[in-house]
């Protein structure tokens, strides 16, 4: 053992850290580090606490209920409590940090619950999973807002789609149902929100949204109407049932269209009326709502019945507004007496005045003020004679008293008025009656009676009684004449004759025969006046004539009387001649001829010719009529001339001693009578001569 090296004490070298500390410590250290890391991370990543207040929190549970945004979970309810006064439920939601900046003032929150409605089942998933809170906010991070008021129902724009928000107003029976669709040509383009009764209780109002891109269809000329329900119509095409959609049928809905062009873009929250049906909606375009109306007041002196609210206000025949309201007014300070006046408030549409587009009421007032200075006045006129309804007409008058629109009057500017033009039916009828009453009917009747008496006397005469028999004979004779070949050729000749007459008449008309006649009569009148003037110097002459008459008185008057007697005898003989007696007979013969001729005409089948003839005759008659238009005047003048002549003759008559002239006149009459006799004879021999002019 001695050869062994001496055992040196082995001092253990400085033990390394690894030897002094177990490696196992790494594991708990790592676990601790991980735990701390996770804890720090989760704390650092923890989003802010969102406080939502709800009226009730049915189904919301702490630690379970989630907050969804676009159906993605972005938060979890941590606590459900109450607000200070237990007034509302306070739900604290731990929000994801990433979305927190977006939850700004624009955010809306509501509780999604299962719902079964006519439009389908919504929120079905919540039946099993429990309710969740849905949030919607815009895409701009405007800073986190901690406290929000939750909504009791889903907001209108729950999808966050861009759109145009509107306000719809309807009468109570229109279909403003919550969640009802807004349809455009059958496509759902929007939605109606919760409806509420307006403050005055007369209408129902609801928010609505029309989603982009259809919101550009909305303009100021857009009209909404109720599309719910269905319409049934019977027409030539058969029976017809219309309804927009089943959902709209059940739950209501509105549709819209721009019924006229030229609407302007609308601002959000614009108010629109919902009409009960399409025709009303279309009609409404012309009714009202064309911008703000100008209200004027007119005080009418007359207090007449017939003007009513909504009566038209017209300017130059165009309707420019309506009567908005009517009152009686007593204002001694303004009018100076205690009479009741009619105060009408007129609503005038500036756009109807035809001044520029987009005219404001002020523009319209300026325009009307200018017109009033030129004489424009308001007055009441009859709108309908049958109903007696009145309207207000703005009319240009030649009124002398200048007037202005009183712009400062309260409550509206006052437009001056003028006397009304009310055509009263009863007054008109009375005037007509008075005129009829003034007609000389009794005189007319007397004249008629006298005329009838004369006719009766004439008809009672033997000659006239003999006429039928003679007519018969005449007809027989005429038949013979008509049978002749000459008569067969007659119609053609008549045609020619009528043509000749027409030509003649035309020439006459052209030659202005009537005016020439008038001139001639004027000349005659002048002559008569000259005679009258000459007659003025007659008294002297008369005196001389008187002297002559005195001398004449000594002349053998008996001889004169005898001569006159002889004249009367000859006249009597003239009348008593066979020729005069035969005149009826001749007439009968002529009638017979005429009848025969007519028969012949009918038989000859020359109706066409006759028609042509008659047409020619008619034009000839027209020409004659034209020429004869001046006849009354002529007659007047002739009458005057005759009057003058009569006066002159009377003057001459007064001078007496005109026996010689009378005698000469009687001889002339005798000659004339003989000429008539000759004419009648000629007629008897050749009746055609009157027709053919030879």
């Amino acid at each position: 053992m001695t050869d062994l090296p001496p055992e040196t004490p082995v001092e253990p070298a400085g033990r390394s850290l690894l030897d002094r500390i177990s490696v196992v410590w790494v594991i708990p250290a790592a676990a601790l580090a991980i735990a701390l890391g996770v804890a720090w991370h989760s704390y650092a990543e923890r989003g802010p606490l969102l406080e939502l207040t709800f009226e009730n929190a049915s189904g919301i549970k702490a630690g379970e209920t989630e907050l969804h945004y676009r159906d993605v979970t972005v938060g979890l309810v941590e606590r459900v409590g109450f607000t200070d006064s237990l007034g509302e439920v306070l739900v604290s939601v731990r929000l994801d940090k990433a979305v927190a900046p977006y939850v700004d003032d624009s955010a809306d929150f509501w509780v999604v619950q299962p719902e079964v409605s006519a439009r389908g089942v919504t929120g079905l998933s919540t039946v099993l999973s429990g309710v969740f809170i849905q949030g919607i906010w815009n895409d701009r991070p405007d800073g986190f807002v901690e406290r929000h008021q939750g909504k009791s129902a889903a907001p209108l724009n729950r999808e966050g789609r861009p759109g145009l928000r509107l306000r719809l107003r309807a009468a109570t029976d229109a279909g403003l149902t919550e969640e009802a669709p807004i349809l455009y040509r059958g496509i759902e383009v929007g939605r109606i929100g919760k409806a509420e009764v307006s403050q005055d209780g007369s209408t129902v109002e609801a928010d609505a949204i029309v989603f982009a891109p259809h919101d550009r269809l909305i303009s100021t000329s857009t009209r909404f109407w109720d599309s719910s329900g269905f319409s049934f119509s019977l027409g030539p095409g058969g029976a017809r049932v219309d309804f927009s959609s089943v959902a709209a049928l059940l739950s209501g809905g509105v549709t819209f269209q721009s019924v006229v062009s030229g609407g302007r873009e609308v601002q959000p929250e614009t108010r629109f009326e919902v009409y009960p049906d399409e025709s009303t909606a279309r009609a409404s375009v012309f009714a009202a709502d064309e911008g703000t109306a100008l209200t004027l007041t007119a005080y009418f002196e007359e207090n007449v019945e017939g003007l009513s609210v909504d009566a038209p206000v017209t300017l130059g025949g165009l309707r420019i507004g309506r009567v908005a309201s009517l009152n009686g007014i007593v204002d001694a300070a303004r009018f100076g007496d205690d009479r009741v006046r009619l105060s009408a408030t007129l609503a005038i549409q500036p756009s109807r005045l035809g001044i520029e587009q987009n005219a404001t009421p002020e523009d319209a007032l300026d325009y009307l003020a200018g017109r009033v200075r030129e004489g424009l006045r308001a007055r009441l006129v009859t709108a309908s004679i049958l109903t007696g309804g009145l309207k207000v007409e703005l009319v240009e008058t030649a009124e002398t008293s200048p007037a202005e629109i009183d712009r400062d009057a309260d409550p509206n500017p006052v437009i001056p008025t003028t006397a009304s033009d009310i055509s009263d039916v009863s007054a008109t009828a009375e005037g007509l009656y008075n005129r009829i009453n003034d007609l000389p009917i009794e005189d007319l009747m007397q004249s008629a009676i006298d005329a009838l008496n004369s006719v009766s006397t004439l008809a009672g005469s033997d000659e006239i009684r003999a006429v039928p028999g003679e007519v018969k004979a005449l007809v027989g004779e005429a038949r013979g004449i008509v049978g002749s070949d000459e008569m067969q050729a007659l119609p053609g000749r008549i045609d020619g004759a009528v043509a000749a007459i027409e030509t003649l008449t035309r020439q006459l008309a052209e030659a202005d025969a009537a005016s020439r006649l008038t001139e001639a009569l004027d000349a005659a009148a002048g002559a008569a006046q000259s005679i009258d003037a000459a007659a003025a110097g007659l008294p002297d002459l008369v005196a001389r004539l008187n002297a002559v008459a005195d001398q004449a008185a000594t002349l053998p008057l008996n001889e004169l009387a005898d001569r006159i007697s002889a004249l009367l005898d000859s006249t009597d003989r003239l009348i008593d001649t066979d020729q005069a007696r035969d005149l009826p007979t001749d007439l009968s013969a002529a009638l017979r001829e005429l009848a025969a001729m007519l028969a012949e005409l009918r038989e000859g089948g020359i109706v066409g010719n006759a028609n042509a003839t008659l047409a020619s005759a008619r034009s000839a008659a027209d020409d004659i009529s034209t020429a004869a238009r001046d006849l009354p005047d002529l007659l007047d003048r002739a009458k005057r001339i005759l009057g003058q002549a009569s006066a002159t003759i009377e003057g001459y008559d007064a001078s007496r001693g005109m026996g010689r002239e009378i005698d000469a006149a009687l001889r002339e009459i005798q000659r004339a009578a003989q000429a008539v006799t000759t004419l009648s004879r000629a007629l008897e021999r050749n009746p055609n001569s009157i027709l053919f002019g030879r």
Partner: protein, 214 residues
Amino acid sequence: MDVSGEVKSARDMGLVACTRCTRVWPAGTRSCARCGQRLHPRAPLSLQRVWAWWSLGLIAYVPANIYPMLETRTLVSTQDNTIVGGAVEIARHGSWGIAAVILTASVLIPIGKFLAVAGLALSVAHGSRVSRARRQQLYEVVEYIGRWSMIDVFVVAILSALVQLGAVVSISPGPASLFFAVSVIATMLSAQSFDSRLLWDGPDPSPASRSRLA
């Protein structure tokens, strides 16, 4: 050899035993010539390893009790239960026995293990009034019972495997089950790391020996 009074350990005798093949070598021998095992008179850094595993077990035990152990999804509801919460729930429904079993297996035993291992380790470092034999007994109990602590994890695993009826009912392990398993494993390793020979080093603080010393 007088063994009646003093218990002499191998170290006292200048020997070291191989823990693998049980061959006894003189003290100072580096490795077992028979099986090649490194020889230590006492496991090196035994207490450090105990404490390391123990703290890992304790760290894992916290989330194991906070997070849900079981996630039960039925058609209408999802229920997440922590260990204690589930036991209380079961107890509320009247199943006191099951609740007691769960509480025992999942709460009492792990906590007891933590306390026991910590007590043993502290007794080695600072001495104890409990007799060495009693402490050895305690250590053996802890070692034995440790493996049964996994019963909770097994229950969760079996339930998850069995109750998978699609959408109607399904049970899945919650995050706590993983933490619980880690905790159990850590405590088992902690107990294993404890070199029970340390218990017998140093004086026996039993009343008998103390009286004799006095």
